[in-house]
Structure formats: C-alpha cells, structure tokens
C-alpha cells in the first residue's frame, strides 16, 4: 500500500523526496522545527553531547585500527599509537579528554533538566531514555579505561567487576562469567574491547529515540510553561543552529586547552605503568566522572547494600518524574525547591571529592552524610515539596514577560547571559 505522501519540493529534490522522504523529514526536524524562543545557554549541552559522541566515535574508530586488544600487546600498542602513528598522540589525547568532556557536558545537561523540571509530564520517556544513555556511557567509559591495560585499567576493572560478586548465591558465578576466567585477564580485555566498540553505536541509537521523544512535545524552556503559539517559538534554523555552533566553539577551546597543554591532567599516573596482577596500587581510584558514585558505594559499610545504593543512585532518576509531584516545572518559580536543588549540586560535587579521598577519617562520615542527602533529595524532599511548597505565579506565556520588560518574577529572558 502506497502512502498518500505529497512532496512539497519540485525538480530533482522533489523527485528524490517523493521516493525517499528524508529531505522533508530533515527539513521539518532540523530546520523549521519550532523551538521556544527563550532557551538559555543551558540548553546548548544536548547538542554538544551529540557532537561529543561523534568526536568519540570518529577518534575511537581510528584508534581501533592501531590498537591490539591483548594483555601482552595492549600497553605497547597504545605507546605505538602515541609515538609512531601519524598524529596518533592527537587522536588518543582527544579520545581520553573527549571522554571527560563528554561527561562534563552530559552532567550539565542532566542538572539543567533537574532544575527546569524537564523530566516532568509529558517528557517522562524522554528523560528515561536519557538515563539509559547515561548508563550506557558509564559502561562504555569503564570498559574503555580498561583497554590501555595500565595498572588503573587492570585494578579498576578488578574492583568494579568484583561488585557483582556481592549478588547473593550467583554473584561469584556471574563475576567469573564476566571475566571469562578466574580473574581479570586476556578474555576480559578482549570482550571489553568488543563491547567498547559496540556500545557507542547503541548509544547513538538511543540518542535517536531521545530525539524522537524530544520532538514529540518539543523542548522545555526556562519558564517551564508550554509555548502558546507562533509568537513564543522560532524555527530551529538559523536561531539555534548558530547558537549551538557558538557553544561548540567554546567547547572546542576548552577541550583544546586540555588536549594540547594538559593532556594527562584528568588521567592517573598509575595508568602509565603496565598492568601487573601481582602489584596492587596503594589507592585504586576510578576516573573523576565516576567519583560521586564511588563515594556512594563506599559510604555504605555492607558490600551488597553499597552496590545497591550505587546503582540505586541512578535508578532513582528513572522514577524521578513520579517522585516530584509539583505541577510547576521550572525551578524559577519554586522558592524552596531552588535551595534544595543547589544543595544537591554542592552535594554531588562533595561526593566527587570524597570519592577521590582515601576512605578514612573525616571522609567517611562526610561521604555518608552526602549520600544520605542525595537520596533524601529524591525520595523525601521532592515528594514533600510537591505538597507543601507554594510556587510563585506563572507568567501567562513565554512572550508576555518579554513584552512587559524586566521586574517580573518571570524575567527569565532578562538574564545577562541570554541577552546575547
């Protein structure tokens, strides 16, 4: 059965679009796509994350052409890339630091969503897909860090895979199955390489779903109210394409500072020591972007409960849309929420710091306190705020506060950053 699609184009474009209507599709979704006119720079990080994924896939594919996933050759093949492959050092440093920047961008993207209530009805599925992307990213990054087969690669992999042994009854069996042996070894390295190559494409597929879900209801905005018509919206191109491009420029400058002038700053010196199963490093520390979760894991004295808490800290995000009962999306109009929100931001940074410290002295109670607040925010504070908080009055439309000028509580667009 043919559809009754009529192409809006003429000539060669019309001929092609009639047979393959992706041109129209791209036009609708990348060009004319109506977007709220009041998005701030906080909305730049979604497209930046997409670009970071592309950078990681492109540099990663070229690195894979020169890398050898074998316990006896992995470290040496990375050194070969660094020394003998044309611009191999650039590719590897881009890939290493690109991973960190990917997480920075995604974490900002997530915290933007948390502040402006982007997870709320009708965007629950969009949010859930985002959490799935985060989980896939974590798995990919963890396995990627194993590949250079340095000391932190080996021992990080040992610590994290051992977490599964906390599962009652079948834990040990599952851990051995993950390893492909009785310890982290060559089979582990080879499967991690295969999965590290596969998962980014799975991420790309979920990103497509994320975009489908996004375009169903459109972007949220700093006021958190729905656009009331054409006067509240502008086409994606050229307004947001140019804004995103400018953001990309700033992102690339920041990335370049690290790639060219401090390429190993975010790494760990121990990973330039070849993996040695007989020598345990004094402190096994994961990459910085895992430190908050590492702190939650260590905050709980019981191994199984620690693992549950660590995974729970992400799982709780899946049910967040149903925990936050407030009908108001944007934190701008929620005076009490706002304070707890910024406390959460500080709390996660503190967790990251605690995760980098040895588990002793003051860091143990601090880690526990921060972990308790993290969960309390989602499980206690947000549900209660939905009942007890009195939000400020919402503006009538996105355009209204702009037309009336500053002084309104909803003077969102009067922020200097957005005045650009």
């Amino acid at each position: 059965m043919a559809s009754d699609y009529k192409t809006p184009y003429s000539g060669v474009l019309g001929w092609l679009d009639d047979r393959l209507p992706v041109i129209n599709f791209a036009d609708q979704h990348l060009r004319f796509y109506p977007t709220p006119k009041n998005l701030t720079y906080a909305w730049n990080f979604g497209s930046l994350a997409g670009i970071a994924l592309v950078i990681m896939i492109v540099t990663g594919i070229v690195l894979a052409m020169h890398y050898t996933p074998h316990e006896a050759h992995a470290f040496g093949s990375v050194e070969k890339i660094m020394r003998d492959v044309n611009y191999g050092w650039l590719l590897r440093y881009l890939h290493m630091n690109g991973a960190s920047f990917f997480f920075i961008v995604v974490y900002i993207h997530i915290f933007r969503g948390l502040y402006y209530g982007s997870y709320k009805e009708p965007r629950e599925v969009l949010w859930g897909l985002g959490v799935i992307i985060l989980l896939l990213m974590m798995g990919t990054a963890f396995m990627g860090y194993t590949l250079p087969w340095g000391q932190m690669s080996f021992w990080g992999a040992t610590v994290i895979t051992n977490l599964f042994s906390a599962i009652p009854v079948v834990g040990e069996e599952i851990t051995r199955w993950l390893w492909g042996g009785f310890a982290v070894g060559n089979p582990t390295l080879q499967r991690f390489f295969a999965l590290h190559y596969l998962l980014p494409f799975v991420i790309a597929a979920v990103v497509v779903l994320h975009l489908v879900a996004l375009h169903r209801y459109g972007s949220n905005n700093p006021l958190g109210i729905n656009p009331k018509g054409k006067q509240d919206q502008i086409p994606f191109h050229p307004y947001y394409t140019i804004k995103d491009l400018f953001g990309l420029g700033v992102f690339l400058i920041a990335l370049s500072v690290f790639v060219f002038f401090a390429p190993n700053y975010m790494g760990h010196a121990d990973n330039y020591i070849p993996a040695d199963p007989l020598v345990t490093p004094p402190h096994i520390v994961p990459e910085w972007y895992f430190l908050p979760f590492y702190a939650i894991l260590r905050a709980i004295p019981d191994k199984l409960l620690g693992v549950v808490a660590m995974f729970g800290s992400i799982a709780v995000l899946f049910v967040l849309p149903w925990l936050d009962r407030s009908p108001v999306r944007s934190g701008k109009f929620r005076p009490i929420f706002k304070q707890f929100y910024w406390l959460l931001v500080a709390d996660v940074i503190l967790l990251g710091y605690v995760g980098a410290m040895p588990p002793e002295g003051i860091w143990i109670p601090l880690g526990r306190l921060a972990t308790a607040y993290y969960f309390a925010y989602f499980l206690v504070i947000l549900p209660l705020l939905g009942i007890f908080e009195r939000p400020k009055p919402l503006p009538n439309s996105i355009s209204e506060p702009v037309l009336k000028g500053g002084g309104q509580p909803a003077g969102a667009t009067a922020k200097p950053m957005d005045k650009a």
């Binding site: 050194e79 420029g249 500072v257 060219f260 010196a269 004094p282």
Partner: protein, 254 residues
C-alpha cells in the same frame, strides 16, 4: 609546573577536583625545578637532553631499559643519522633466529629500542636484591610529579633516621613513597664526564636525565604545543565570528 597551574585553574572552573587524589603520600614535597619544556611555549633543551642521554647511557642503562623508545627517534634531539647509529651500536640486542635456527647477539641498530640489560624480569630482580628496575619509556608520566619527581628522587638520598630499619639492599630516599628504595644513589658529583664540558654535579645530571626521560616519554610534546597554539588561536577567532553572527541573527528576537 606552569602547565599544571593552567590546567588546575581551568579544571577548577569546570568544577573538577581530582588533583588532590594524585598527591603522593608519605614523602617530602618535591621541590620545584624550572625545566625548559614547561609552559605553553616550552621546548626540550637539546643540550640538556643530550647530556641526559649520556647519563642514561653510562648510568641508568646498566639496570634499566626503554622498550618503547627506538634509537631512531634520537634524531629529534639533534643527532645525525651516523651519530644515532653509533649510539645504538653501544648496545647489544638479541636477534634471530638465523639460518641455523639460533638466536645471536648483535649491536643494536637505529630501529631497535633501548634494550633491557637483563634476560627477563626474574633475572633483573635476582640481580637487584628483589627490586625490579622498571622500564623507563614513560617513567615521567607514570609517576605523580613527573620529571620534577624523577629529578628530586635521583638526588633525594640521605642517611636514614636513627629509628629506621632498612633491609639489606634498601636505601633511604626522602622523596620515595615509603622512603625505602631498592635503587642505590647512582648520581654523585662527577659520575659521568660530560662531552660538552658542563660540570657534572649530581644536581646537573639529575635535571639533565629528567629532561631526557621526559622527552622519551613524550617525544611529540613540542609538536603538540605548537599545534595547540595554532588551534586555539584559530578557535578563538572563529568562535568570535560565530558569536557575532549569532548576535546578528538573534537581533530580531530580542
């Protein structure tokens, strides 16, 4: 080091705080040293690196190797093809098998890497009281503190405090984590006689060999920084233009 300072500033603004996790523990603070390769425009001081190679050849190489550093790359330090061949030929490597199926010893060639002087890890440990003389290919990257730590370590030997018990074959070094190190003090004043006439004090040799080892670990550092300056200057101009275009396009919205 200046690079680290810049990075720390940028990292601080990005909200990262992992620097603290990298600090070495249980050892004296590594003193700062101004290396030629520090900073945005830093390059390897060729004369220092060449002296460092001399220290490596005459001192370090009796126990250590650099299995990822080929002799051919020494041309980066200003040696001619013939000089590189001559340096390589000072070393013996195992080659083969030959037509009779036997391995044989031959002088190293530029394509070979700095060989390890022992047949294997066990032999190396056996000869060094149980301590393994590590490969030095990336040693300045493999230690927190990098080249400054390496320099300090080489001259950080002291008599142990009265209450310490050192096992035989162990030495006391104030910069080594745990202080008991298996490597004896190798750099004493005049341990080598520099070809360029520089006075070979222990301090001088330590700084020179740290420069050489940092080059060995990051042979593309100069190219990296040169490219970085160009890339960032371009991006600054390009991003500035994008910002101007952005303002123009958005002028009818605000």
């Amino acid at each position: 080091m200046k690079t680290h300072l810049i990075a720390a500033l940028v990292a601080a603004t990005l909200g990262l705080g992992t620097g603290a996790a990298h600090a070495a523990e249980g050892a004296a603070t590594v003193p700062d040293h101004d290396f030629s390769f520090e900073g945005v425009f830093g390059t390897f001081d060729r004369a220092a690196a060449q002296r460092g190679l001399q220290v490596y050849n005459q001192v370090c190489s009796s126990c250590h190797g650099m299995e990822y550093v080929p002799f051919r790359t020494l041309k980066d330090l200003g040696y001619s093809e013939d000089q590189v061949e001559a340096i390589a030929a000072q070393y013996t490597v195992t080659a083969g098998p030959n037509d009779q199926g036997e391995m044989y010893e031959k002088p190293a060639e530029p394509t070979d890497t700095f060989p390890m002087p022992y047949d294997n890890r066990q032999a190396a440990m056996n000869a060094n009281g149980g301590a393994y003389p590590v490969d030095l290919s990336v040693i300045t990257q493999a230690r927190p503190g990098g080249p400054e730590y390496i320099r300090a370590l080489l001259i950080g030997y002291e008599d142990p405090p009265a209450d310490t018990n050192l096992a035989p074959g162990q030495y006391w070094n104030k910069y080594f984590p745990g202080h008991a190190i298996g490597m004896p003090q190798m750099l004493t004043d005049g341990a080598v006689e520099y070809a360029d006439g520089t006075e070979a004090t222990a301090e001088q040799m330590a700084a020179d060999v740290a420069t050489f080892l940092h080059w060995a670990a990051e042979p593309h550092m100069e190219e990296r920084k040169r490219m970085g300056i160009k890339v960032i200057l371009f991006l600054l101009v390009f991003t500035g233009l994008l910002y101007a275009v952005k303002r123009k396009i958005w002028s009818d919205v605000h």
